[in-house]
């Protein structure tokens, strides 16, 4: 009896080895909120909730596997993953499927796959590896190489065209460079350069991308076109008030005024039904998750693990901020899902792999130093 309980505990210990309870609890809390919101948003198609639960099972399994892989092992995947990502992006450009006027998808067997999604992890992995390798002799030249490694996938993604993902991939690369310790002065110079390059960049943008940006400043200019999303989502958020309209009682949601209400605009549903209090809870959960991630990064054992953990954590923040800002009408409408909440298998998988990496970094924080 005592033996049985002892061995059961051992099995449990073995199974939960490397799993960080805090991270798991926070991310599952977010997923729970997401499923509740998804249920409300998918009243006409309840199968979405079950399918999201299936996605979750797969994502958790991936997390479990990744959490047990040491960062050193992960490092080995960096170059192949990056090169594969670049190859796939080129393949998409040459032979991808066109959906909604953009060539983003690649047919893999029976399913379609977005290589740019993969780049969100592969690029930070690659850059972290690169900086780690040259840790001892980090010079300006290395930052230039890193910038080049960043620019290639970003440009390939941007010309699909998928500006949203391109910006996110670029952000991920930038975070690595930032945490790698690029000088503040260089950073300032780069910002000025970046601002200056906005003008020629504007000329390269597609009409619909320009419209989206312009509509941000005045959504009423195009109320039935590009501004429609923003107008309806801000109405949803604003009408939610302090306490919200209550779960399943959002009129904007249930009368189908919110477009893409289970994916990119699910926050409008959440905010309408749970109000300012709900938003505060959501922000707090994200803040705690990010705090935990940054803490893990600060205590990471290696340069590589540090950069990777910090970057992944800031990516969670970036997704959440850009998505909520977009729904609340202070950021342009870009295709960014709300982490852990939005419906979608790929995004959930990427997120939990990220969580898995953080857990791995955390559990291996002392291995090298001893």
């Amino acid at each position: 009896m005592a033996l049985a309980s002892f061995s059961a505990r051992r099995v449990f210990r073995r199974l939960t080895e490397g799993i960080d309870g805090t991270l798991l609890a926070l991310s599952l809390a977010l997923v729970a909120l997401g499923l509740a919101t998804l249920f409300s948003a998918s009243y006409e198609q309840p199968a979405r909730v079950t399918s999201q639960i299936a996605n979750l099972v797969v994502a958790l399994a991936a997390m479990w596997v990744v959490a047990r892989i040491a960062p050193q092992t992960l490092m080995r995947f960096a170059v192949p993953a990056y090169l594969l990502g670049i190859a796939l992006l080129i393949a998409v450009a040459l032979a991808g499927d066109v959906v909604n006027g953009a060539r983003r998808w690649l047919h893999v067997g029976v399913t379609r796959f977005q290589p740019s999604e993969m780049m969100k992890l592969a690029l930070p992995l690659m850059l972290a590896w690169y900086f780690h390798k040259n840790e001892a002799t980090l010079r300006m030249r290395d930052f230039a190489v890193a910038a080049l490694l960043l620019v290639v996938p970003v440009l390939l993604t941007a010309r699909q065209p998928d500006l949203g993902t391109a910006v996110l991939v670029a952000a991920a690369g930038f975070y690595v460079i930032f945490f790698a310790g690029i000088g503040w002065r260089v950073l300032a110079a780069l910002s000025v350069l970046g601002l200056a390059s906005l003008f020629p960049l504007w000329g390269m943008l597609h009409d619909y991308q320009r419209r989206r940006i312009l509509t941000l400043f005045d959504p009423t200019q195009d109320p039935l076109g590009a501004g429609y999303h923003t107008i309806q989502s801000t109405i949803a958020v604003g009408s939610g008030g302090i306490t919200g309209k209550g779960w399943l009682h959002g009129t904007q949601t249930h009368l189908e005024f919110i477009p893409e209400r289970h994916t990119d605009f699910i926050f409008a549903v959440f905010s309408e039904e749970f109000g300012l209090i709900g938003n505060l809870i959501l922000l707090s959960l994200y803040a705690l998750l990010i705090a935990r991630g940054l803490m893990i990064a600060a205590n990471a054992a290696t340069y590589f693990a540090r950069l990777l953990a910090a970057t992944i954590t800031l990516m969670f923040f970036t997704y959440a901020f850009v998505n909520m800002g977009m729904v609340a009408g202070i950021l342009p409408v870009v295709g960014v899902p709300l982490p852990f909440i939005s419906y979608g298998g790929t995004a959930l998988l990427t997120l939990f792999i990220g969580i898995g990496i953080l857990m791995s970094v955390h559990s291996h924080r002392r291995l090298v130093q001893t």
Partner: protein, 642 residues
């Protein structure tokens, strides 16, 4: 070295942790920004957004009322509604109109005619919510579109009530037609402050009684509070105020009589008005050629429109109220009336007619060469002596004539319940002064008065004016405003509103004078110019023929019908009332370019009266049912001396 490396390591970690701290601070700042935005939306501006969300939820959908029916005096339906499916495009919701129309063609039959009609409507009605691309879809087309609906955002099938005029061209100018509300209609509705009641109404009366009784026929718009989605589709009805159908309008017109009259006209152009003298009620009202008002209901296609609009026959003009014609010799009974009333002539006053009247060195010819010899007032009407009336006009003077004729309604609008009535011209010194600009033109010349006496010169009246004058004479001076509507039924309340006869004036005419003129008019149809058509009538009646010159004849020139192009031929007129004692009908016929009044107009009048009094339908459908056999031989020569 190793120490330095280690130190470097620690320093590096320190800098990294500094940056982590910086990142954490940035995250907090960003989340604070989001929180401020949430606070702004959800607390500060909550009320505004809440009401916006509420607006999104509930839409007030107007329910257009069913338009009232139009019936003739015997309850025969003249205008009704039927339900049909239309395919409507919401231009605001469609990105590429042309492509949508093109693709719709793959699903339902869209012809060039439909496309051009749609474009015409789209150009005319700028802020229309939806416009039909196809009307009267078949069930199969409805099913086919429903299956392909996902391909066409902004295109919907609507069940609509359409107006239908079962009698087609018959009485088209009376009934009129409805059409899409355009900018001008909207302005008019705004002026009347009834726009709210027209939310949801797309059609409005454009002409005829459809236009003049628009407010009666329209009804009251109902409202439905509907919960809708972003695509504008109703999910469920929250509250409903039903629409109230428009009132049914019953006419004084007898559609059978109308049909007889129009058939008698055949292909000829002209007008006919028949009035009940004791009430002003219009029994028949013809303007030829007509048109099919059903063409206008869906929005007329440009080809049909161009055809109607550019036809030299001007089928869209309502000749009975807007056509102006010289009355010709039908003016003479009123001239005789004036002479008696004003004391210029007695019943016995006679002249010797040499066939012309000389004035200022100019000869005014009688239509009968050599003249009628001894002519008294009675004979002047019966044989239609021009010389007699040249002289009479000269003796009366233009202002006396104008003053007297004005009382009979000549030269002023009758006030009939139709829009677009013309005024005509009652010539007088004052009129001429106003009409012309140059002083030498403004002066009235005495010579101009002469031809006024035989209904020529500046005389120009509408057929409805002639009919009102005749009805007034027939009713011994009681003038009623002509009207087409008898009563209006409110189906909801069951209330019937009678349109009471409106006595405009009661002319103080001496009974003996009225009797005399009526007797002379009876003579016209018994032994005079009208006898050929009315000699055999089985009811008492009185009439007068008239021939109105379209082009002036030069001095001494003889009018030869064969030499004059068809459109320059004289107009043929005939006026008749019956029976002599308390007349039931007063009728005016004008056949454009029909030549002598006795020839073209009088037979039509006879056909109509025969049906009215005897229920007799014309024996043939032929356009000119002239009964030559019944014409006394000795009166044939009179025919030409109109």
């Amino acid at each position: 070295m190793r120490l330095g490396e280690l130190k470097n390591h620690e320093r590096e970690l320190y800098f990294f942790q500094l940056r982590i701290g910086f990142a954490g601070f940035a995250v907090l700042a960003a989340f604070a920004l989001l929180f401020v935005r949430f606070f702004q939306l959800q607390v500060v501006q909550h009320d505004a957004y809440a009401s916006k969300a509420e607006d999104n939820r509930i839409s007030i959908v107007p329910i257009a009322p069913n338009r009232g029916l139009m019936l003739d005096r015997n309850g025969v339906i003249l205008a009704r509604n039927f339900s049909a499916y239309t395919l409507e495009i919401f231009p605001a919701k469609v990105r590429d109109l042309e492509r949508t129309i093109l693709e719709l063609g793959e699903v339902v039959d869209v012809q060039a005619k439909d496309r051009s009609r749609f474009r015409k409507l789209y150009a005319e009605i700028r802020n229309a919510e939806s416009l039909p691309i196809r009307t009267r879809l078949t069930d199969e087309e409805v099913a086919r579109f429903a299956a392909n609906r996902y391909r066409f955002p902004g295109v919907e099938i609507k069940a609509r009530l359409f107006r239908q005029y079962p009698h087609g061209e018959l009485a088209a100018h009376v009934i009129g037609y409805i059409g899409r509300i355009d900018q001008k209609d909207q302005e008019k509705l705004a002026e009347l402050e009834v726009e709210a009641n027209y939310r949801g109404t797309d059609y409005i009366g454009k002409s005829g009684l459809e236009a003049s009784y628009q407010q009666e026929l329209h009804g009251t718009t109902g409202f439905e509070q509907v919960e809708i989605d972003a695509a504008g589709r109703g999910i469920r009805t929250l509250a409903r105020t039903p629409a109230q159908a428009g009132n049914n309008v019953t006419l004084t017109l007898d559609i059978k009589l109308q049909e007889v009259a129009e058939t008698a006209f055949g292909e000829r152009r002209g007008a006919l008005v028949a009035i009940e003298p004791s009430s002003g009620g219009v029994l028949a009202f013809v303007s030829k050629p007509g048109y099919d008002p059903n063409l206008f209901v869906d929005g007329i296609d440009p080809a049909s429109w161009a055809g109607l609009n550019s036809s030299p026959d001007r089928p869209l003009t309502n000749r009975a109220i807007a056509g102006i014609y010289p009355p010709g010799s039908t003016f003479k009974p009123y001239m005789a009336m004036a002479a008696l009333e004003l004391g210029k002539r007695t019943q016995k006053s006679a002249i010797n007619d040499p066939g012309y009247f000389e004035f200022g060195g100019r000869r005014f010819r009688d239509s009968k060469p050599g003249g009628h010899g001894y002519v008294d007032l009675y004979k002047s009407i019966v044989v239609s002596s021009d010389t007699y009336y040249y002289q009479l006009a000269n003796d009366l003077g233009i202002d006396a004539i104008a003053g007297f004729m004005g009382k009979f309604g000549f030269g002023s609008r009758s006030g009939i319940d139709l829009e677009g009535e013309a005024t005509g011209v009652l010539p007088s010194q004052e009129w001429k002064q106003k009409r012309f600009r140059r002083p030498e033109q403004q002066k009235w010349y005495a010579g101009e008065t002469i031809s006024i006496g035989i209904g020529q010169g500046y005389n120009a009246y509408t057929p409805i004016q002639l009919a009102v004058a005749l009805a007034t004479l027939a009713a011994n001076g009681d003038m009623y405003r002509p009207r087409l509507v008898s009563y209006i039924d409110n189906l909801r309340s069951g209330e019937r509103r009678n349109i009471e006869p409106a006595l405009v004036s009661r002319l103080a005419l001496k009974a003996e004078n009225v009797e005399f003129v009526k007797r002379a008019m009876a003579g016209v149809n018994k032994e005079g110019t009208g006898a050929r058509s009315f000699g055999s009538a089985q009811y008492s009646n009185g009439g007068k023929t008239g021939t109105a010159q379209v082009v002036g004849m030069k001095q001494g020139e003889k009018y030869d019908e064969r030499k004059v192009s068809e459109r320059h031929r004289d107009h043929s007129l005939f006026i008749v009332f019956a029976p002599l004692e308390s007349p039931k009908i007063a009728l005016v016929v004008i056949v454009e370019n029909g030549g002598f009044g006795a020839r073209a107009a009088a037979p039509i009048a006879r056909t109509v009266l025969d049906y009215y009094f005897l229920g007799k339908l014309p024996e043939t459908e032929s356009a000119a049912p002239v009964k030559r056999g019944s014409t006394p031989a000795e009166q044939v020569e009179e025919e030409e001396s109109d």
